[in-house]
Symmetry: C2
């Protein structure tokens, strides 16, 4: 696996949220996060066909304020927790700062989707949208 290989991600949507700063964001969506609007880029309108209100989706975001050089963290920023490899945690700080979020679709207006709850802050790029598979 040569280290020089890389891949280019392009945002497909952006989060419009009342959460403006990372310090205000809960650690997970179910810990009191707000509902948000996703502005999907118009060129991806066709890719939304079939998404319905009430459906549960997985969003993959690019956590644009994260540190990519951090390899160990105290889980949940709690200094009493032992330093742990980032791949064993959900820390936003990781080599590829991808966020994974389960949300419900609340409203659809053209290429805008209201979803929630979501802990990602205003302006966070969304790089993929997937349905949750039934177990």
């Amino acid at each position: 696996m040569p280290a020089r290989i890389s891949f280019t991600l392009r945002p497909v949507a952006v989060v419009r949220s009342s959460l403006k700063h990372r310090r205000d964001a809960p650690r997970q969506g179910r810990e009191g996060a707000p509902d948000v609007w996703l502005d999907v880029a118009p060129q991806f309108a066709k890719a939304l066909h079939g998404i319905a209100v009430g459906q549960e989706l997985i969003l993959i975001t690019w956590l644009h304020h994260a540190s990519r050089s951090t390899l160990k963290v105290h889980p949940r920023c709690d200094k009493k927790m032992p330093l742990t490899g980032v791949f064993a945690t959900r820390s936003p700080d990781r080599p590829n700062p991808l966020g994974l979020h389960e949300v419900r679709v609340l409203e659809i207006a053209g290429t805008r989707l209201k979803v929630g709850p979501l802990e990602a802050i205003d302006g966070t790029p969304v790089v993929d949208i997937k349905p949750i598979l039934c177990p």
Copy 2:
């Protein structure tokens, strides 16, 4: 959201699997996929600390054989299913071809992890590893 924005993903590991071709791969891991080895790049060894045998992980892969220009597909390649937006399906063909896989850790040998079952084919780059959160 200017269209020129992009982000650079770097592989953190690669899949070593007996599945060599996309045509041989089951659609989902639980549909008969094999166990595989993940070769994690040595520079990310510290990021693995805390991962244990028996744990369930989410892998995010880069599906390197996918088409990035496909916006609609017949789900599960079944022509009887109506054409559906890729964001409403788990098709590998999508603007950012990220794969999402739940696997169990079976063995750990240095920076190699045996995990399974995994439907991603041999040589698939892994771009993130995350623990599954308890509900």
